[in-house]
């Protein structure tokens, strides 16, 4: 945590409400994103219990698994989820733009034009917290390899037809969510945490209710009081007023409400089961339709219970969305969203090409490619946020990685060492910043008309003198507007403003001996894998 964030948190404790960490919104928000509140059953990792989802605040769709251990009910749930999500996910695949770029064949040196499709927009899923993101990833992992009745060898327990496809989409979204700055699948707590500092720890910020309580406390309460109430207040039945935002449920809810309801449902279903009709006893004499209705009623009880704990979270998600929409979008958002569109397009293409599901584990080359991409994007996000937002730049200024101030003096000067003299003007800036730089350190101008390098000449007593080195055109005198004027506000950074390109890696089938040689799957089918060349290229 940076010093500035720590200060903001202390400030929040004092003021009683969250303090802004950003002046603009740093993540892309779709006009109508798909919101999901997934719940998992206690006891089995990744067992779905319920989900409340939709794109319309007033009409969320509730899906539940009344008996989480029942595999048939689970797959019925997943089939329903696929019916809800897949049309949305696939709806962006049609509208495309065609981009052409010239590439040079490395062998012959011939120029060729390559055209590629890029989807104009991409889906966006928002879940309450990182636990929700992980649960979707787990669901993807547990379903993408399932065989269906449509497979040549469906096996004894075929899954509903579209479930493996859903698994592949969820896997892709989860993978993409690991790329810094990506916005296909987002956690609301991350979004809010990026833009506001609360007076509690980052761990406590994972509680969506408490986080919102700090950012937008109800009238008459401080953030701390509201957060405490969100975390602990219970009604007369002992249930939390603000249920956890999933994927785990409150144990109190599980044991006193949910478990008994599931027991009642199990009993009713047993009675309604035709194979139990012959058994003697009072129930056996009741008409079958009535028993079926009993069972359905018990199922509706469970739905009601789950809806009651999901609806408050649903409202919190929209509340968070409203708060975020109150911030103006950052300038680089379209740029980064293009990366998400590439990622979406690449996955669409892999599905269309009939490639097999993403493997359980990345091979050596894919893992290295993903790591390189994530590191590059991490750097890019950091730089872009600093360029978009004075508060983000302030963090760098505070750590001596940047300086900002007003130009007090500009002295024309030239480099006469070459054939023709080139402009190398000296710019003196009045600043309160103390950059950790020595004379000769390379600087980069932020927010200038073009990318511009400079070097530090002298820094003392609130005055920093730099010499501009580039971005002034090819003539003896600098291009108009390329050199700041006295009175201009300028900012220079010690870090480069673009991420370095990552070095090329071998193709998976060329994995060297130091890394165990080519993976077996690749020698058989070279196109397998999420991270083949297309992923890297497409995901930028």
């Amino acid at each position: 945590m940076s010093l500035l964030t720590t200060m903001a948190r202390l400030e929040a404790v004092r003021s009683g409400h969250a303090e802004p960490l950003a002046t603009v919104r740093h993540r892309h928000l779709a006009e109508r994103p798909m919101l999901l509140v997934p719940l998992a059953a206690a006891g089995e990792t990744g067992a779905p219990l319920a989900v409340l989802l939709g794109r319309d605040r007033e009409r969320p769709r509730l899906l539940t698994v009344p008996q989480p251990l029942d595999r048939e009910r689970r797959f019925a749930f997943l089939a329903d989820l696929a019916d809800e999500l897949l049309p949305y996910l696939e709806s962006f695949g049609e509208a495309v733009e065609v981009l052409t770029k010239e590439t040079r064949d490395s062998g012959t040196g011939e120029q060729t034009e390559v055209s590629r499709e890029l989807c104009l927009d991409a889906p966006q899923l928002i879940v309450p917290n990182r636990g929700g993101v992980d649960l979707l990833g787990l669901l993807g992992r547990s379903t993408r390899f399932r065989r269906t009745a449509e497979d040549p060898d469906p096996g004894p327990y075929p899954a509903p037809p579209r479930v493996p496809l859903l698994g592949r989409w969820l896997t892709h979204l989860r993978e993409r969510s690991q790329v810094p700055g990506s916005s296909l699948l987002l956690a609301m707590t991350d979004l809010l945490g990026r833009h506001w500092a609360t007076g509690q720890s980052t761990l406590e910020d994972q509680h969506l209710g408490a986080l919102l309580a700090w950012i937008d406390p109800p009238a008459g309460l401080t953030g701390a009081q509201a957060a405490l109430r969100a975390e602990t207040a219970r009604d007369e039945r002992g249930q939390l007023l603000c249920p956890p935002a999933g994927p785990t449920t409150d144990p109190q809810f599980d044991s006193s409400l949910l478990a008994p309801a599931i027991v009642r449902y199990d009993a009713a279903r047993l009675l309604a089961d035709p194979s139990h009709q012959q058994s003697p006893g009072a129930a056996g004499r009741r008409p079958h339709a009535e028993l079926r209705e009993q069972s359905a009623a018990r199922e509706r009880d469970i739905d009601g219970l789950l809806e009651a704990v999901l609806t408050p979270v649903w409202e919190q998600l929209w509340h968070g969305l409203d708060l975020l929409r109150g911030l103006p979008p950052a300038a680089h958002l379209p740029d980064r969203w293009t990366g998400d569109r590439w990622s979406y397009t690449a996955h669409r293409d892999r599905l269309a090409a009939g490639e097999p599901p993403q493997p359980v584990r990345d091979d050596a080359v894919t893992a290295a490619r993903k790591l390189a991409q994530r590191e590059r994007e991490q750097t890019t996000v950091g730089v872009q946020e600093a360029l978009d937002d004075p508060l983000a730049m302030a963090e760098h200024r505070l750590t001596g990685e940047a300086l900002a101030g007003v130009v007090t003096e500009v002295e024309p000067a030239h480099d006469t060492s070459g054939k023709s003299p080139r402009p190398r003007p000296l710019v003196t800036v009045r600043t309160v910043d103390r950059p950790h730089a020595e004379p000769g350190t390379e600087l980069h101008r932020a927010g200038g008309p073009t990318s511009q390098r400079a070097e530090l000449v002298a820094a003392a007593h609130g005055r920093v003198t730099v010499r501009l080195l580039s971005g002034m055109g090819r003539k003896k005198e600098p291009e108009p507007g390329s050199v700041p004027e006295v009175g201009d506000q300028v900012c220079f950074t010690l870090f480069e403003l673009t991420a370095r390109q990552s070095a090329p890696l071998p193709e998976p089938e060329d994995t060297p001996w130091t890394h165990g040689g080519p993976p077996p799957a690749h020698s058989a089918a070279p196109t397998v894998g999420v991270g083949s060349a297309t992923e890297e290229g497409a995901d930028r």
Binding site: L3, A367, A368, E375, A503
Partner: protein, 451 residues
């Protein structure tokens, strides 16, 4: 430079032991059955000398050789050493277009710099960074490569360069800092080829036949330091000092003025270690008092005109033989500013080196002054507890190491036992940072001055 065999080498003494190890390594690298040879080298055990020796031997046998180092300064350093030790070798210095080589590396007539590998194919030895080698394409693979500082190289970097050579000698210090990344890598934890792990870890996992060699003698660390560093950081690969207890002497020509800085200097001159303890306090990272104290210790070291006597003879303790080590870059910057304020040069050839543990790796000085990574902290994170960080900071010196720290680090450690999750398939590093920190702290406590 650490000589592999100091002039008067007693029979079967450290010199003979080291020589034996080196011959075995060269034999394995040139003719061994495995394509890879790994050498674990504790601090100052003659790793660079081994690299020079291996390079000469391979070239003498008619081979062309590529050398991979991790940073530009390591490459320049290596080129300079190689050209000095073997002026007859034709050496290529492959460099990036935005990273001009150090003039010291280019002053030798047989060193040819270029940004293109194709220009250097005629050279017997071509040296560059892993980052630059990754971009080289369209050349025939070299038969031999030497990978220097291999434990600091990431697995993904090796993946990108391994196509360039058939056999390789990997040399490095397993006790130093592990490679790092700025993003989460839990997804690949436990995979043998986890791209964020060290190149050597991946290599050994995929080539179980490779048994790492080890250099048994540290020529840098004095007799006062080798036992502690060996026990605290290399419990399963012990090493000893190449010099004996009275072989290294640090003397100060003028007496101390009784200040805490002078007292700790006297203690360190006497024992090789010194701890200057400041009152316990939670501080910001660039703790102004600790930074000022570090600067004062350096100032006094210079003012009191130290002199170092060793197996290399007697020399003055000049600014360029002193280094200050910190955990964070802003701390280093703050110390530099404080030193400048006291009139001590910190840049250029004759200045005191002030840098982070990361950048001090592979460097050697007569005296080091260390700002303890845990000084003034309210918590002990994995970053600050990393074994390698402390190991680097505590093993750069030939004569003495002075640590400046706030009191209360032992309690801080006890309040923050290691809580990192254990992951399946990941070799647990032993000793962990918690243990190593306690071991070093316990030793330093015997050489304490209170400030």
């Amino acid at each position: 430079m650490s000589p592999l065999s100091p002039a008067p080498s007693p029979p079967d003494g450290p010199g003979a032991e080291a020589d034996q190890a080196v011959s075995a390594i060269l034999e394995a690298a040139v003719r061994g059955a495995e394509r890879g040879t790994v050498v674990d080298s504790p601090p100052g055990a003659g790793k660079s000398t081994l690299v020079v020796k291996a390079a000469r031997e391979l070239v003498a046998a008619g081979e062309r050789l590529m050398i991979v180092a991790q940073t530009n300064s390591q490459v320049d350093d290596l080129v300079d050493r190689l050209a000095t030790a073997a002026p007859e070798l034709s050496i290529g210095r492959l460099h990036g277009s935005d990273a001009a080589p150090d003039p010291a590396a280019l002053r030798h007539p047989m060193v040819l710099p270029s940004t293109k590998a194709a220009d250097l194919l005629g050279q017997s030895v071509v040296v560059s960074t892993a980052a630059k080698w990754q971009w080289v394409k369209g050349v025939d693979p070299w038969r031999h490569a030497i990978v220097d500082e291999a434990y600091q190289m990431r697995s993904d970097a090796l993946l990108a360069v391994a196509r360039l050579f058939e056999r390789a000698l990997f040399v490095g210090d397993p006790g130093q800092l592990d490679p790092f990344t700025i993003v989460g890598t839990e997804q690949w934890a436990g995979l043998s080829y986890d791209p964020s792990s060290s190149a050597v870890v991946t290599l050994l996992a995929h080539n179980p036949g490779i048994v790492p060699h080890r250099l048994p003698v540290s020529w840098r660390l004095p007799a006062s330091a080798a036992p502690l560093i060996s026990a605290a950081f290399y419990p399963y690969a012990p090493f000893r000092a190449g010099t004996g207890p009275g072989d290294r002497l640090l003397r100060l020509r003028s007496a101390g003025d009784g200040s805490a800085a002078d007292r700790v200097i006297d203690i360190a001159a006497e024992s090789g270690w010194g701890l200057l303890e400041l009152p316990a306090r939670h501080t910001v990272r660039t703790d102004p008092e600790a930074v000022r104290t570090v600067a004062q210790v350096v100032r006094r070291l210079l003012d009191r005109r130290g002199s170092c006597r060793s197996e290399r003879g007697e020399s003055d303790l000049t600014a360029d033989r002193i280094a200050v080590g910190t955990a964070h870059r802003d701390q280093a910057a703050a110390v530099r500013a404080a030193l400048t304020g006291l009139g001590v040069p910190t840049s250029g050839a004759g200045g005191v080196t002030v840098d982070t543990a990361n950048r001090l790796q592979g460097r050697e000085y007569d005296v080091t002054v260390v700002l303890h990574p845990l000084s003034g902290r309210p918590d002990a994170t994995a970053f600050h507890l990393e074994t390698g960080r402390l190991c680097v900071l505590a093993s750069r010196h030939r004569h003495a190491c002075i640590v400046v720290a706030r009191a209360g680090i032992a309690d801080l450690l006890d309040e923050h036992p290691s809580t990192e999750p254990l992951r399946l398939g990941v070799t647990v590093k032993f000793p962990d940072g918690w243990e190593a920190n306690h071991a070093v702290l316990a030793h330093l406590a015997e050489h304490r001055a209170v400030g």
